[in-house]
């Protein structure tokens, strides 16, 4: 049965008398504002990349990166970041899981400890690390017993990168595990899985997109770590240090090729991780990947 009442007409047109123009103006205004915001942010973020490309010539790249040993900072950064990341995954993954499941005693205190390096200026972290792992530090003296030195060594570089990057991985992994309904893990164990099997078959695949994003962010942070690194590990020279030194010695033109090298080395993993995460999330959600 159809009605010809005003209500019936409203339902048909979806228009509320007295409000259409105001509603549309607000909607259009919000959209325009959002687009403008997106444009400004994109320009602000991509601007420096454009400048980097614009100010680089093939000649300056060859001059800076051509000599023997010029790529050593790259290998140092890649090696130290990879090891720091490995340690992060090994220690940070169980920690993040237990935090997400609320199974850790003094969880708030642990969380605060993880957040602290994010809140502190990296330079200060570097200074404090010298007190901790430097030759005169409490831990430093213990490290000396096993022939490790916490200042100006590859080991010191790994520690400094770890401090700057680990919170990004642990917090990312925490969010990723928290997004997995604990009830599906319980279902898996009731269906015959051991806890580790349930973790491998259910928790890990579901948390993987978030873990990948956290890992990629931590990788980018570790590769670009500078504040703490320059205090505790001026040597061996990683890429960020090399950029700083080249800038001091040769100015912008000398630093830019190494900046490009750092971007090229650090960025693909995060970009790939982001694309993979987005695709996996969309697949699990039953939506086509963009």
């Amino acid at each position: 049965m159809t009605t010809n009442t005003p209500a019936g007409n409203l339902a048909a047109t979806g228009v509320v008398p007295g409000f259409p123009s105001a509603g549309r103006i607000v909607a259009r205004g919000s959209t325009a504002l959002a687009l403008l915001g997106a444009l400004v942010i994109w320009l602000a973020l991509l601007g420096p990349f454009a400048v980097l490309i614009q100010h680089l010539s093939l000649h300056s790249i060859r001059t800076a990166l051509g000599p023997p040993g010029a790529l050593d900072p790259l290998w140092v950064s890649l090696g130290a970041s990879a090891i720091a990341l490995g340690v992060m995954v090994l220690l940070g993954t169980p920690l993040a899981y237990l935090l997400a499941r609320g199974r850790l005693p003094l969880a708030r205190l642990v969380e605060l400890g993880i957040l602290l390096p994010l809140m502190m200026p990296p330079l200060v972290i570097g200074l404090l690390l010298i007190f901790l792992i430097g030759p005169e530090g409490t831990l430093g003296m213990l490290l000396a017993d096993i022939h490790l030195t916490g200042v100006n060594t590859f080991f010191a570089l790994i520690v400094a990168e770890f401090y700057e990057a680990a919170p990004f991985y642990v917090l990312g992994a925490h969010a990723a595990f928290a997004s997995v309904d604990p009830r599906v893990e319980q279902d898996a164990t009731l269906l015959g899985d051991r806890p580790l099997q349930a973790f491998r078959r259910i928790t890990l695949p579901l948390a993987a997109p978030g873990l990948a994003t956290g890992l990629a962010t931590a990788w980018a942070r570790a590769m670009g770590a500078f504040g703490a690194v320059i205090i505790v590990a001026y040597y061996p020279r990683g890429l960020p240090n090399q950029i700083f030194i080249a800038f001091q010695e040769f100015g912008l033109s000398g630093a830019l090729p190494f900046a490009l090298l750092l971007v090229v080395a650090a960025l693909p993993l995060p970009v790939l991780a982001y694309l993979w995460s987005a695709r996996t999330r969309a697949r699990v959600a039953g939506v086509e990947a963009p």
């Binding site: 309904d181 319980q186 279902d187 009731l190 269906l191 899985d193 695949p205 579901l206 039953g286």
Partner: protein, 325 residues
Amino acid sequence: MNATPTRLLAVELGVERRDVTVQASFGLEAGQRLAIFGTSGAGKTTILESIAGLTRLSRGNVRIEGHLVAGKAGNEPALAPRDRQVALVRQPTTLFPHLTVEQNVAYGIRRSPARGRVTELLERLGLSMLARARGSALSGGQRQRVALGRALASPFRVLLLDEPLSAVDVAAREALRSLTIETATERDAAGIMVSHDLTEAQAFGDQLAVIDAGQLLQVGGALDVVLSPVSRRVAELVGYGGFVPAPLAADGWFAIHPDRVLLGAAPERGVVLSGIVLSTRPFGPRYECTVTESSGARFTIHVDEPLPAGVECTITALDPPVVAA
């Protein structure tokens, strides 16, 4: 030889919740099915999750084939979840969202020969066409079918179902219920279903338990509990629509069930009552009339023809149970 064989499932539990203390005590033999019926929040799900060992008990314990699965009993270790042989269908439904429908159903199957059963199950669940779809792409009813299939495919001895068909089309429920009962019977398993729908509960359980505010008020045969409620509260919960003072029983009331009345006086079949019709409204294919009796007590009856408000009517309540206030 043990003179008293171990029950398949023995439950003696107490769980302190913030709102209510849930207590339950019952046992099931192999092949028995119990339906727990009650309102939302009464403690039905708590009982199921306690039996599965997923909820910490405040007291008591749960045993499956004599093995401790929840609670404490001296230094006896509780059986690990994977060894409990419990299948649980939850409300709201939980699926493994990254797996396909087929992978979800096959999840609990460890031996490859049993995988042939998955294809058959998918067909009987009406999911063959969706075998390669992921859980997130399914409707509520389809998700429930997958969760049910996953439970039925696993090697369970105790089947726990929390409103397993609530989102399934009414037309498909009978087939799914039959499949569930058939599978439980084949495995010689014990089954428990909780529901707030009495007809659904009766269709599953040969035993019916009524729960209210955390307490099991009555456990008995699926029809016996409805025909002979032990208290006014149980009678209210199982659908009695009014209470009339019983002249011969001090503090006793006839419980009048709307569907267990005849129009007119038939004293040989029950208790004859007279009253004035207060209101009449459609009730499915019938009518529901509210009647006030001479004592002032009100009750409702379901009739085929509408009774106009204000007329006097006589009805016979068929063997109404007498319940205490």
